[in-house]
């Protein structure tokens, strides 16, 4: 055998690693359950309260992002998938074995990112399309519904899956930087939950300027068919979040490249 290993062989290796531990499989199942299950619960709740909903709320109601609400919970599951795929290597010490097998460290990062990204994009897109369709069928006849034949609606559902995918890569990047599961998950959670609370302490005009840059708000913008006040459009939000992701993964890869192991 004279075939030289390529990035494809490293991807195959990482895929074997990914699917052979329970935490990744659990992460995938939890992502599906949270997105679809909580999406169904939330849409059912909206449907049952629709008759008491006032006119203002009805006017601003968005059946698309409402049916995708499960992603607000699933985003933590995909973050953990990304974090653990890296930090498990550090906690077990197997990172040394991995780096001895693949001394081109950036190949290792690229392969891991590809595996996490591809798995999560498939799972998240399936979850988002299912939860959207389930949600619309629950709304049907009582609450206004949306259809995938509308371009903006289709984009919102696709972007919801991409939002989760980018977040799983952010988790992976944090894992590369911090190397510890608990620390990485805390930072990931803080970025999504604490950051918006902190900005509430700022004057309203600052909030209007800053809120739109927060990861969770970018996610909302990505999943909304029509932009709301003081937020980015879906495409801009997607590009900004992709830039954040590239930054976090890039810093993590740079640290892996330079660090002693």
């Amino acid at each position: 055998m004279s075939t030289k290993p390529t990035i494809a062989s490293v991807v195959r290796s990482e895929w074997i690693k990914f699917r052979s531990v329970r935490s990744s499989v659990t992460g995938v199942v939890v992502t599906l359950l949270l997105t679809i299950g909580l999406g169904a619960l939330i849409t059912l709740a909206v449907r049952s309260h629709w008759s008491q909903t006032d006119a203002v709320r009805r006017a601003t109601f968005d059946p698309v992002s409402t049916s995708l609400s499960g992603t607000l919970f699933a985003q933590f599951a995909v973050g953990v998938i990304g974090v653990l795929f890296i930090t498990a290597e550090y906690s077990s010490g197997s990172i040394r074995t991995s780096l001895a097998a693949v001394p081109q460290r950036l190949h290792l990062v690229a392969a891991k990112a590809l595996v996490v990204g591809l798995v999560v994009v498939v799972v998240a897109e399936v979850a988002c399309f299912v939860t959207f369709l389930v949600g619309q069928s629950i709304f049907s006849g009582v609450v206004p519904t949306a259809s995938l034949s509308n371009g903006a609606v289709l984009r919102s559902v696709i972007f919801a899956g991409l939002y989760l995918t980018l977040l799983s890569l952010v988790g992976m990047g944090l894992g590369l930087i911090l190397r510890q599961s608990a620390a990485s998950i805390s930072v990931f959670t803080s970025l999504l939950l604490i950051l918006p609370i902190l900005t509430l302490l700022l004057p309203q005009s600052w909030q209007n300027a800053i809120n739109r840059f927060e990861p969770s708000q970018l996610g909302q913008s990505m999943m909304s068919p029509t932009p709301t006040a003081n937020t980015f459009g879906a495409w801009s939000a997607f590009l900004i979040l992709a830039l954040y992701t590239a930054g976090v993964v890039g810093v993590g890869a740079g640290m892996l490249e330079r660090r002693d192991h």
Partner: protein
């Protein structure tokens, strides 16, 4: 062949490896000895490109490890047997490693067979005993059929049968012409396994050579015993011999067996035992590293 040339590694204030140079040749088992914290593991990590040298170089087959395209075909290493994801099966762990270097999938079954863990190959590694983990680590090292093998403290946690197995394995790997580099803090183990020895202390090379060379230069003692113990003691004392009591006899440091025989004859003491005792590698090692500690502790050594 592993070549370490003026290798130095400093971590903030401590110097883990200090201007270390040595070659590890193919065809023999080379023992890498030193007390805990002497820099053995750091040196191995530097050879494997896991740590970056402050200065100097470590190469395998003339190349830096990170330049190797299929490293597992050239170098197999076992650093820490427990460094495997506990939730993964042994087989999947090896499969992932094999895939990364495009090694044939049948090699996984072969090394599982060779190391005797085929029957537990599909169990989670977290359930493995230390001995089974060591075997899995060795299986991983052998996966690419490499010409160079590095093992860091491989006998830790093995039962006597496992130690014997590993000793035979290392020797047969060396006979096949491979470079086998084994670290240990157990001198007695290395005396049985290794042919060449490299001794380090505080990150510096203390000595290197064959086991015979190292023990030959060391001080030797003679165990002597007589039925009339007090007469023998008096005879030794009158000749101002350096000795100490041990069991029913004495260990003499300053005379060889022939001179002790003459002394006893002259004193009219009948000897019942007269045994030259060659220093064990362990004693040689203790002497050598004790010197290195004294040397390193002197202010001039770190100017």
């Amino acid at each position: 062949m592993i070549s370490v040339v003026h290798l130095t590694k400093r971590f903030r204030k401590t110097t883990a490896v200090n201007d270390l140079s040595f070659d590890v040749r193919p065809g023999v088992v080379t023992g890498f000895l030193g007390p805990n914290g002497s820099g053995k593991s750091t040196t191995m990590r530097l050879i494997l490109g896991l740590d970056f040298a402050t200065s100097g170089s470590a190469t395998v087959n003339g190349k830096r490890y990170r330049e190797l395209v299929q490293p597992l075909r050239e170098v197999g290493a076992l650093l820490d047997a427990k460094a495997v994801h506990p939730g993964r099966s042994a087989r999947q762990h090896l499969r992932a490693l094999a895939a990364s270097n495009r090694l044939a999938a049948r090699r996984v079954d072969e090394v599982l067979e060779l190391t005797g863990i085929s029957s537990v190959a599909d169990k989670k590694v977290g359930t493995f005993s230390m001995g089974m983990s060591q075997r899995l680590g060795i299986a991983a090292a052998l996966l690419g059929d490499p010409g160079i093998l590095l093992f860091d403290e491989p006998v830790n946690g093995l039962d006597p049968e496992g130690i014997r197995w590993i000793r035979d394995l290392f020797q047969s790997l060396a006979r096949e012409g491979r470079t086998v580099f084994v670290s240990s803090h157990l001198m007695s183990e290395m005396a049985l396994t290794a042919e060449q020895i490299i001794v380090i202390g505080r990150g510096r090379l203390i000595t290197q050579g064959s086991v015979d060379e190292l023990t030959a230069g060391a001080k030797s003692e003679v165990y002597v015993r007589a039925r009339d113990t007090s007469a023998l003691e008096d005879a030794l004392r009158t000749r101002a011999v350096t000795f100490r009591p041990e069991g029913p006899g004495f260990v003499v440091a300053s005379l060889d067996a022939e001179a002790i025989g003459d002394l006893a004859l002259a004193a009219g003491v009948a000897l019942s035992t007269l045994t030259p005792q060659r220093a064990s590698l362990e004693e040689v090692f203790m002497d050598l590293t004790a010197d290195s500690v004294e040397y390193s502790a002197s202010p001039a050594a770190h100017s």
